[in-house]
Amino acid sequence: MIPELGQLALALALCLALAQSVLGLLGAARGETVWMAATRHVARGQFVFVAIAFLCLAYSFIANDFTVAYVASNSNSALPLHYRIAGVWGGHEGSMLLWILMLSVWTFAVTLFSRHLPLEMVARVLGVMGLVSVGFILFILFTSNPFLRLFPAPPDGRDLNPLLQDPGMVAHPPMLYMGYVGFSIAFSFAVAALLSGRLDAAWARWSRPWTTAAWCFLTIGIALGSGWAYYELGWGGWWFWDPVENASFMPWLTGTALIHSLAVTEKRGAFRSWTVLLAIVAFALSLLGTFLVRSGVLTSVHAFATDPTRGIFILALLAIVIGGSLLVYVLRAPKIGLGGGFEPLSRESMLLANNVIFASAAGSVLLGTLYPLALDATGLGKISVGPPYFETVFVPLMAPALFLMGVGPLARWKKASLPDLASRLRWALATSVLAGLVLPFAMGRWGAMVALGLLLAAWVAASGFVQLYEKVRNASSGANSWARLQSVPRATYGMLVAHFGVAVFVVGVTLVKGYETEKDVRMERGDTVEAGGYTFRFDGVTAVQGPNYAAQRGQIVVTRDGRPVTTLNPEKRVYRVQSMPMTEAAISPGLTRDLYVSLGEPVGATAWIVRVYHKPFVDWIWGGCLIMALGGALAASDRRYRLAARRLREQYAAVAEMT
C-alpha cells in the first residue's frame, strides 16, 4: 500500500511540476499576474508530494518491505537502521528520487526567499525549475521506478553494497546532490533573465547567494566523497582522478568561476554574457556528471544502471536542457551588451584571468574524462588517462590562480597601479618567500615542489591578512577596532575565510605529497615496522562478528621513541549476504599527521601483509574544504543581498506605478 502511495505522490508531483512550468513561463510571457502568483503555491505543492514519495520509499526500507524490488536489492533485514535509511539512495532508482527531492527542496527555498524579487522573475525562475523537474520525474517513472513490486517476494534482501555501509556514505550523496542541483537555480535565473531580457546587476545580485550556497554544498559533498575513498577503499589515496570524481569536480570548477564572474557582473555590470554562459555550463556539467555516473558508462561503485534506455533517456534530457538553453542564449545574448570598460591591470582583469584559468581547468578535466569514453564508444581503442596527466596540468594552472588570489582582492576596480599593489603586498611577499625557503627544512627535507606549495599557501594566507587589515583600517564607522571589524561586510569575511581555506588545502596537499611514507610489509606477530618516526608493532589478528559480517581484526600498537601513541584495529571483513571481502582501515587522525594501517591478506599460517602509512597534514585537505564551504556560507548569508533586493523591488514597484 505504502509504495503505491509513493508512486501516486510522484505522479501528482509530475502534474504539479508541469503546471508550475506552464503557469510560470506562460504567465510571465503573457503578463498574467494571477498565473504568476499561483506558480509559487504550485511549486510548494510539488515539494510536498515529492517529499511524500521519498518518505514512502524510506518507510519501505525501514519496514524491510522486500516486496519492493528496489528495497530487496539494496537492503537486508540484518542491516542496521541508519544504513537502511542511507540505502534509500544506495542504488540508482533511489538516488534519482533523492535528486528530485533536492530539486524540490531548492525550489521550495526559492519560493520562501524570493518575496523581494519582482513577480515576473520569480515566475520564470520557478517555471524553468519546473521544466527540469518534469524531465527528471518522467525519467524516474518511465525508466527507474523505485516503487515496483517483486513477485514472488524474496524472504530477505540482497543487502546494501558493503562499500556503501559507512557513515560518510550516509551524508555524501545528499550533500553532493544539493550542490549539483543547486546550480539549477543559477541556471534558472540565467534562463529567466535571458527570456525577460533584463540581464543586469540586479540579476547577478539575486543569483549570487544561491550560487554560493550550491557551491558550498558541492564543496562539502566532494570533500566527503574524497574522505570516504581515503578510509574506505583501504589504500589511503584521497583523490584518484577517477572519472566519477571528475564528474563532480567539473561543476565545482565551473561553479567557482561563476561565483567570481558574478561578482564582476554585480559590481561593474561587465562579463554579462560570459556569466550567463557559465551559469548554463555549470548546470550542464552537473547533468553530465549525473549522466556519466548513473548511466553505466563508467563502471564503478556509483554505476548501477545497466539498462541502456536509462542512459539514452538522460542523454536526451541532457541534450534538451543544454541545447534549449544554449539556443535561448544564442538568440538573446547579442542584446545583452557590454558593461563598463576596464584597464589591463584592474580587479576585473584579474577576475577574468581567474575565469580563464578555471574554465581551462574544467576543460582539461573534461578532455581527460570524455576522450577515453568517446574513443571506446566509437570503437577506436581503449585508453585511460591517469593521474599524471591531471597533475601535470593542474600545478601550472593553479599556481597563477593562487598568486592572483593574493593580488585580486586588493586591486581597484577599473584601473589598478602596479607600484601601489607591490608596496601594499611587500610584507606578504617577503613572508611567503621566507616560508617557502625555510619551512621545508622544518619538515626535514627541502624540495622544489614542496617549497612552491608552501610559498603559495603562505602567500594566500599572508595577503589575506593584508586584505583584512586594509579593510579594517579603511572602515569608516566606529572608533575602536572591534566596531571596525564588525563594520566589514559579512561577504568580505566570507571571501577571506574561503581563500584561507584554499591556503589550508594547499598546505595539506603539498605536505602529504612531499612527505608521506607508504610501506607494504609482511608481518608476523611481534614484528615491527617504522614509518615517519613511528614504530608499528603487529600483535596478530582475532576473529570478530559484526551485525552482518564476520571479520579478522588485527591489533597494531604504535609507539614513538618508546612511548605508546595509539592502538589501531584494522579489519578484513566478509559481508555475509554478498560474501564480499572488504578492507576496513584503521586510522589515528591528528592535526599534523594521520597514521593509517590496513590489512592486506594472510600469508602462511600466522603472518599478514600489512599496509602502513604515515600521512603528514592529510586532514588539512578536508579541513581546507570545510573552511572554504564555511566562507561560502558566510558570504551567502550576507544581509546586503536581502536589503538590496528589497530596495530593488521598491524601485520596480515605483516604475510599474508610473507606467
Binding site: 580563464v356 581551462s360 581503449k382 588517462v385 596540468v393 564480499m580
Partner: protein, 155 residues
C-alpha cells in the same frame, strides 16, 4: 595607447595565454595516455616498449604465487588464447581472485614479464572489468575462426 589598441593588446595577450595553456594540456595529455592491450597483442610484441600500458584478462587459476618476501606476487593473465606473466609488489585489491577478471597497469620488461604498478580493484563480486571481458571476447572470436578454418580444411 588608444583604447582600441589596448583592447586588441588584451585580446592578443589573452589568446596567447590560452594557446600556451592548450599546448601544455595537449602535451601532458599525449604523454600520459595509457593504452590497453590484450595478452595476445603482448605476445605478438604489438605493445610499446618502455612505456606504461594496461593489460586485461582473466587470472589463470592456480597461477598466483607469492615470493619469499611475502609482498611480491606473480600470476598469469590470460585472454584464453595467450598468457602473460605479471609481477606485482604490494597489496592486491580485495576482489582479486583466481579465475576472475583483472586489469593491470605497468611496463613490459625485456624478459617478457609484465611489471605491474597497479592492479585495478573491482567493486563487486561478479563484475568483470569491461576491458578484460573484451580481451577475452576478442581472443575467443579469433579462436572460433581458427576452429572453423580447421573444420573446413579437414572436410
Amino acid at each position: 595607447m588608444k583604447p582600441r589598441h589596448k583592447r586588441i593588446a588584451m585580446i592578443v595577450g589573452g589568446l596567447a595565454v590560452l594557446g600556451v595553456a592548450a599546448a601544455l594540456v595537449l602535451k601532458a595529455f599525449n604523454e600520459n595516455l595509457v593504452f590497453f592491450f590484450t595478452p595476445t597483442q603482448v605476445e605478438a610484441k604489438q605493445v610499446p616498449q618502455g612505456r606504461a600500458f594496461r593489460i586485461g584478462g582473466m587470472v589463470v587459476p592456480g597461477s598466483v604465487k607469492r615470493r619469499a618476501d611475502g609482498v611480491t606476487v606473480q600470476f598469469l593473465v590470460t585472454d584464453t588464447a595467450k598468457d602473460v606473466p605479471v609481477v606485482y609488489r604490494g597489496i592486491l585489491p580485495d576482489l582479486f581472485k583466481e579465475g576472475k577478471g583483472v586489469v593491470t597497469q605497468g611496463k613490459l620488461g625485456d624478459d617478457g614479464v609484465f611489471y605491474a604498478s597497479e592492479v585495478l580493484a573491482k567493486h563487486d563480486e561478479n563484475y568483470m572489468p569491461p576491458a578484460a571481458a573484451d580481451a577475452i571476447k576478442q581472443a575467443q572470436s579469433i579462436n572460433e575462426k581458427a576452429t572453423h578454418t580447421l573444420v573446413e580444411s579437414s572436410k
